[in-house]
Amino acid sequence: MGTRDCQHQIAMSSPAAGEAGATGDWRTERPVLDPALCLAQKQEKEACQLCWVYCPDLCIARGVPPAVLLTYCKGCGICAEVCPTDAIAMVPERESAAAAAGGAR
C-alpha cells in the first residue's frame, strides 16, 4: 500500500494490467502447448497464430511457438478450441501443479 494521496477531484483511472488482480487465479484448467504439434513451430515462422488472435484476454504472445501468459490467463480454453492442429491441451490446474512439483505429492 502506498501513502501518497491521489489528488483527484473526480474518479479518473489510469491504465494498468491486472485491474481485476492476477486473474490467473480464476483458472481451473491451464492451456499447455505442445510445440511439436504447433503449425508455427512446424513451419518455423509466425504462421497461424490463431490462439493469439482469439484470446479475449491478451494472454497469448505471438511467436514460434506462441507463449501463454499464465499470470492473467483465466483458463477459458478458447485457444485450445480454435487451434487447428490440437496443439493446445487444457490441463486441470491440480495436475499441472503436481507436474510442476516433479510429480511428487
Partner: protein
C-alpha cells in the same frame, strides 16, 4: 455599454453569446424556447461561433454538455419544468463529474396537471444534486448572473444553474444594460481546462468506484466514492466564498452590484423580515413598503444563492428580528416549503433567532401580488402577537373554502 429592452430569455441568450460558449445543446420547452431559438439564429447568422447540437430530448441536451465539457469546451443549455425532470439523471452526473456546465432553468410548474406558468418546483426538486443554484430577481440579473455563473463554475469545477421565473421574467421586457464583448472577455477569459481526454495520457473518466479508497498500480491511494462526495461538498462550501468574490469582481468591472449570496431591502431596522428567492422578492419589496406606511417595520431578505445555502449569512441577517416570514414557490409535499425548511434549520439554536413562519405562494402561476403578500404578513404578525410561535404554512390566495 448599451441599454436594450430585453426579455429574461433574451438576457440569458446574450450572456451565452458574450461568454463565447463553444457548445450549446438544448431542447425546446415553454417558457425556455426563445433562448434556444435566439442562439440558433445567431449561430446560423455567424454571430455565434459555437457548435449547436439540436438534440432530440433534454436528457441528450445535458449529456451533450457533459461530454463536451469533459473535452474542455465551454458549454451552455437551458430548460424548464418537465425538461429539467427528464434530465434528472444527468443533473446528478454533471455534478458528480464536477463539470462547469452552465444551465438556465426558466422556472415553471411541474405536471400533472399540465401548467406552463411559473413556480419554482422544478429547480427546488433538484436542490440536492450538487449544483450551485442562483435565483434572479429581474432581467439585468439574469444576464449578470449567467455571466458570473461561468466564473464560479470554472473556478470550482461545479455546474451552475441560473434560475429565473418563467413568463414573469422570461417573457417580460425590461431595460437591460448589455455589456461590450471586450469587457466580458476581461471578466471571463477563455476557458483553459486541463484536458481530461488526451491520447498521450489516456484516462477512464467516471468509472465504477468502490466505497473504500483503493491503491492504483503505482501504490498511490485513490479515493473511494465517499471521499469524492466529501470533496464535492467541500467545493460547494467553498462556493460561499467564491460567489461573493466573483460578484465583487463583476461589480468592479461593470459598476453594478445586485447582492452576492443574499440581497436586502429596508433590512437595517426591520423587525419583520420577508424571505424569498426570485422575482417574488421584488413584489415583497412593494409589500414591505406598504407595511412600513402602516408603521410595521418590514424588510426583505432575498436569497440569491440557494445552493450552497447561505446559512451563516442568514443567521447574522435574522438575528434579533421579531419574525422571519418565508415565501416558497414550491413544496416538499408532505412537509413544507423548501426555503422555509432550510431557514428553520439554519436558525435552529442560534442566539436571537426569530420564529420562522412559512407561506406557499404562486404555484402554477397563481397571482402573488404585493397587496396579498402584505396581507399574509399582517396575519402572521397577528398570530405572533397572540403568542403563536409555530404554525403550518399559509397557502397564499388559496380558494378551496370559497367553493365549499
Amino acid at each position: 455599454m448599451s441599454i436594450s429592452i430585453l426579455t429574461g430569455n433574451d438576457a440569458a441568450a446574450h450572456a451565452a453569446r458574450l461568454a463565447r460558449v463553444q457548445v450549446v445543446a438544448a431542447y425546446p420547452i415553454t417558457p425556455q424556447s426563445p433562448v434556444v431559438e435566439m442562439l440558433s439564429k445567431w449561430s446560423d447568422q455567424g454571430d455565434l461561433q459555437a457548435e449547436l447540437v439540436r438534440v432530440e430530448s433534454e436528457h441528450s441536451a445535458l449529456t451533450v454538455c457533459i461530454a463536451a465539457a469533459t473535452v474542455g469546451a465551454r458549454v451552455f443549455t437551458a430548460t424548464s419544468a418537465n425538461g429539467l425532470a427528464y434530465m434528472n439523471e444527468q443533473i446528478w452526473w454533471a455534478a458528480g463529474a464536477r463539470l462547469p456546465v452552465v444551465m438556465c432553468c426558466v422556472n415553471r410548474a411541474l405536471a400533472a396537471p399540465w401548467n406552463v406558468l411559473n413556480d419554482q418546483q422544478d429547480s427546488m426538486s433538484v436542490r440536492d444534486a450538487g449544483w450551485v443554484q442562483l435565483y434572479c430577481r429581474d432581467n439585468q440579473e439574469v444576464l449578470d448572473t449567467t455571466l458570473q455563473a461561468w466564473r464560479i463554475a470554472e473556478e470550482l469545477g461545479l455546474p451552475v444553474m441560473v434560475c429565473y421565473d418563467g413568463f414573469l421574467l422570461s417573457h417580460t421586457v425590461m431595460p437591460v444594460d448589455v455589456p461590450e464583448a471586450s469587457a466580458v472577455d476581461a471578466f471571463l477569459p477563455r476557458h483553459e481546462p486541463i484536458p481530461v481526454i488526451d491520447l498521450a495520457r489516456p484516462r477512464n473518466v467516471g468509472p465504477v468506484t468502490f466505497a473504500d479508497p483503493r491503491a492504483n498500480a503505482d501504490g498511490v491511494i485513490c479515493h473511494g466514492y465517499m471521499e469524492l462526495r466529501a470533496l464535492h461538498q467541500e467545493a460547494l462550501t467553498r462556493a460561499l466564498q467564491v460567489i461573493p468574490r466573483v460578484e465583487r469582481s463583476f461589480a468592479a468591472l461593470f459598476g453594478r452590484s445586485r447582492g452576492a449570496l443574499t440581497w436586502g431591502h429596508l433590512l437595517d431596522d426591520a423587525e419583520v423580515v420577508l424571505v424569498a428567492a426570485g422575482s417574488i422578492g421584488v413584489e415583497l419589496t412593494v409589500a414591505a413598503e406598504a407595511l412600513r406606511a402602516e408603521g410595521v417595520k418590514a424588510g426583505v431578505l432575498g436569497i440569491r444563492a440557494y445552493r450552497p445555502f447561505p446559512a451563516e449569512a442568514l443567521r447574522q441577517a435574522l438575528q434579533g428580528r421579531r419574525l422571519a416570514l418565508v415565501f416558497d414557490k414550491a413544496m416538499s409535499y408532505g412537509h413544507e416549503g423548501p426555503i422555509c425548511s432550510d431557514v428553520r434549520s439554519a436558525l435552529f439554536g442560534a442566539p436571537g433567532a426569530p420564529p420562522v413562519f412559512g407561506a406557499v405562494a404562486g404555484l402554477g402561476g397563481r397571482d402573488a401580488a404585493a397587496r396579498e403578500l402584505a396581507e399574509v404578513a399582517r396575519r402572521a404578525l397577528a398570530d405572533l402577537d397572540r403568542g403563536v410561535r409555530q404554525r403550518p404554512a399559509e397557502w397564499v390566495n388559496l380558494q378551496l373554502e370559497e367553493r365549499a
